[in-house]
Amino acid sequence: MNAYVGTPTSRVDGRAKVTGAAKYAGEFSAEGLVHGFVVEATIPRGRIVRLDTSEALKVAGVLDVLTHANRPSLADKDEAWKDEVAPEGSPFRPLYDDLIKFNGQPIALVVAEEWETAKFAATLVRIDYEQDGFATDLEAGRGSAREMDKPHKPRGDAKAALAAATLRHEADYLVPTEHHNPMELYATTTVWEGDGKLTVYDKTQGVQNVQKFLCGVFDKKPEEIRVLSPYVGGAFGSGLRPQYQVVLATLAALALKRSVRVVLTRRQMYGLGYRPMTIEHVALGAGPDGTLDAVSHEAIAVTSRYEDFSRNDTGWAEQLYKSPNSHSSHKLIDLDVSTPCDMRAPGAASGVCALECAMDELAVALKLDPVELRLKCYSDRDQSEGLPYTSKQLRECYARGAEAFGWARRNPAPRSMRDGKELVGWGMATGVWEALQMPVAVRIVLTANGHAEVSCAASDIGTGTYTIVAQVAADALGLPIENISVRLADSTLPQAPVEGGSWMAASSAHAVLGAAEDIRQELARLAKAIPGSPLANDAADVLLIDGMIASEGKNGAAVSIADVMRHSKLERIEKEKLNQFAEDKSHARNTHSAVFAEVKVDEELGVIRVTRVVSAVAAGRILNTKTGRSQIMGSVVWGIGMALHEETVMDHRFGRIMNANIAEYHIPVNADIHDIDVIFVDEPDSRINRMGIKGLGEIGIVGVPAAIANAVYHATGKRIRRFPITLDKLLD
């Protein structure tokens, strides 16, 4: 039954969030709670030669200053510091030793009775460094890039094909460093429960990941540490790995045998992960008719000196555009910075941005409509593996998006459309992301009063997991959604990976479905065993609907769940189930989108407004059209930011970020956002999984920056390949 799935159900946690009842990691309290404030390194590379905490310790209310010299023991093997999603390398260990690896690295934690006291005392900690030579500039280091191993194998001979192609387009596109800047500051409250036991409230996208990590780092038994993260005020990938404040709060709790809270400042959050600055070099070779001969994509990205972070920036053309020859490579440059991390649609947001700008440039060179070029090259197969898709309604995305946008009325000539003093530009781009699914277990406890509690360790990072879990459970159990309560993000609950990669909707929904199925079978067995029950001796299967167990047989007999449980003297039925997806390597799994954007650019002043965006998305079954639409709208807003505003600016003389605050790190404000139209294209997919779910968390941002950049070109005739497109780049 689908009373809820596929409908615009409002968030089940909405009320708690807007009334303040929802508690975040930094809002939990405990008796005797004390506060830690982080002292950060102010050089990018070197060694601490003196760390004088004496003045800080004199401040009334200061309890301790933890440093590498006096801290309790921390694991000394890299293995212990590697979390579920750690990249290759040697993870960063806060307060481990005297080495400085990046500017903003935590080097001491001042613990005091009051947060203000700790913050003040932190200014009194004196540090002398021995500075080493350092490098933080990706572009300057381009020559020292080293090749990474990537799954995409070359096909044909792209180099030769490019050389021979009638038409060639080749360019560098630069995506700057970007920071997530979730509204909620990173925070941990570690509650000292006595006997070395800890309850840790942490801002994270994966409580079990953090729990295992803390057990490793502090050499604790699993039952000694419990991690919770019931609400997360945005994370966007920055909370996939355990962040250093959870180590520091826990370290301090163990050192002081007290409950400790550590909240990072906005500036300190710029010392966490980020979207790595990347030079995307794209070369396309085409025949005069617009068929591609060759695609070559090389990404050169920043990483830290201690870990190799990289995602798939390249290879997306394999999914999208037919070409007999293709080549891609991913290179890294080691710099004296913290390790980058996942940020909404990691890899694709940057790589597809470049690919889609390049396709637009090729369309211009070929004098072809950009949509037509993409249709000419449309690939029904994932070329890297030679596989068909479980479903791919991208053609429909182009068609529906173009129609809603009015694309047919576009005059292809740049600078040909105007509105008063503004040049009008229409641009488009394709988006693509993966449809992944991961092992997730769910426990359902059905009680005789017709109420079900669904629990799982998965986080809801604001995306709506609470809501879709409740929807799926309500439908599967035949109960009203009000009778479903959902518990998430507690490490003691059934297994879940970090919430990321857009995999949680499909993964959690199928776990719910599995557990509900077990409950249904149990109820059927019980109902049929009750002598004289209308279902006794009924061979047909049963459905759960409207609080009833109903026969699928012709007579349509039914009994209420409550009656059956009462008769069977059962207060509760509890089932836990790990989702199961059929192993199927025969098809590729992706989500797609077509994004159309209108910009208006003041011809003389260069001021850009994104007046309209239409995003047509094909992502399998949409579980909740309201939260789903919000996901895409939010992604489009972010894409506008990526195109026009976002950039972490570093002064390479100091190796220091100079706009580590949200006044100077610009994201769009209301005035920058106009019409956003979200279209979900029907995409039935019976192959990918039982419910046909693909996930929506990331597809919405992919392609948006390119559509806007292409619109800016169409408006102005200027091709800006360095993001963000600020007005100075349009003045000449």
């Binding site: 200014t123 220091r656 100079m658």
Partner: protein
């Protein structure tokens, strides 16, 4: 943030006495700039003298037909005051182009005049900055200077004054009323802020023991032909890359009086007699506007990243004058630049 003492002044004399008694003391009004700087350890006052309850919240007509505005009038109240909306809409428009509604509710007139530069190095105590620590050097000269000044700079500092309100006040010919130990004085707003020369740590000519009590607007209002045009990196809630306060009086199509001030380009609102003189008596045409813009920008020099500001400012001046002379002022609520 450092530890500090806190005192509340109930009268101007109180505040002056407290200032005198403690050379490390700072006045605090709305706190929207000072507290931020304290959090970054840029300002480390030994004492905060809270002046927010001083009786300086009135907006009164002066004998000559101008207005006197108390130093503690909140920015929002000022922008939406009927006398300001009707008589000095240029000022209202400039204020509303700045910050956000929440900040404008807290910010005071005096605090707005005294707000410090947004130069990133000034805010970051780990980098050299002559304004913060005289003699340390200026990191912006050869660093990230996209937002920095193109006019009136020195080799010590190329910071800009970030205030929008001050640009309109400069164009309108406002006066600043000041009280000090030795009595009261009044100076022109255009003489209130300084150029950096070799003393960039001094933003203004306000003495260390002095306090702003009011600003005064002269009778000439420019209520018909005006425009505050602010160009920034997003359409709201960002400091100006360049802003223009333009005001003219027209006789037919001829300009009888003109005012032109630039924001975001110098250590103070930038106004020159030459540019305005060049407009007086001229027909309101883009050519004449361009000439005035050239005069206003005479001597502009760029560093590595802010060269675009020179041409942007020129175009913005022309646009603002076109808008001012064609009587199509726009509300700040509509961000489209006509």
């Amino acid at each position: 943030m450092n530890n500090f003492q806190y005192s509340r002044a109930s009268e101007v004399a109180d505040a002056l006495r407290l200032l005198d008694a403690d050379p490390g003391a700072k006045l605090i009004a709305g706190g929207t700039n000072l507290i931020d700087l304290m959090k970054e350890n840029v300002e480390r006052p030994s004492r905060l003298i809270d002046i927010s309850r001083l009786p300086l919240r009135d907006i009164e007509e002066t004998a000559d037909g101008g207005l006197r505005i108390g130093a503690l009038v909140p920015n929002s109240d000022l922008a939406y005051h009927p006398l300001i909306e009707q008589r000095y809409p240029l000022l209202a428009s400039a204020i509303l182009a700045g910050a956000s509604a929440q900040l404008r509710n807290m910010a005071s007139v005096g605090g707005n005049l005294m707000q410090r530069t947004r130069c990133a190095y000034f805010y970051d105590t780990t980098t050299p900055c002559n304004k913060r620590s005289p003699g340390m050097g200026c990191s912006a000269l050869d660093g990230l200077n996209r937002n920095h000044a193109i006019l009136g700079t020195s080799t010590s500092c190329i910071a800009t004054n970030p205030s929008d309100m001050s640009v309109a006040l400069a164009a309108l010919g406002a006066l600043v009323h000041i009280a000090g130990r030795t009595g009261k004085r009044t100076i022109a707003l255009t003489d209130f802020h300084r150029l950096p020369d070799d003393k960039p740590h001094l933003d203004t000519n306000l003495g260390s023991g002095e306090i702003i009590t009011a600003i005064e607007l002269p009778p000439q209002r420019f209520a018909r032909n005006y425009r505050y045009l602010k160009i920034r990196d997003r359409l709201s809630y960002a400091f100006a890359l360049v802003s223009v306060a333009a005001a003219v009086e027209l006789e037919g199509n001829a300009i009888s009086e003109a005012r032109l001030a630039l924001g975001g380009v110098a250590h103070k609102p930038w106004r020159t007699p030459e540019a305005e003189a060049a407009l007086r008596g001229q027909a309101a045409t883009p050519d004449h506007f361009g000439r005035a813009a050239d005069l206003l920008l005479q001597g502009a020099t760029a560093r590595s990243h802010n060269g675009f500001k020179i041409e942007l400012a020129r175009r913005a001046v022309v646009r603002a004058l076109i808008q001012a002379t064609s009587t199509t002022p726009q509300s700040q609520a509509r961000k489209k630049i006509a």
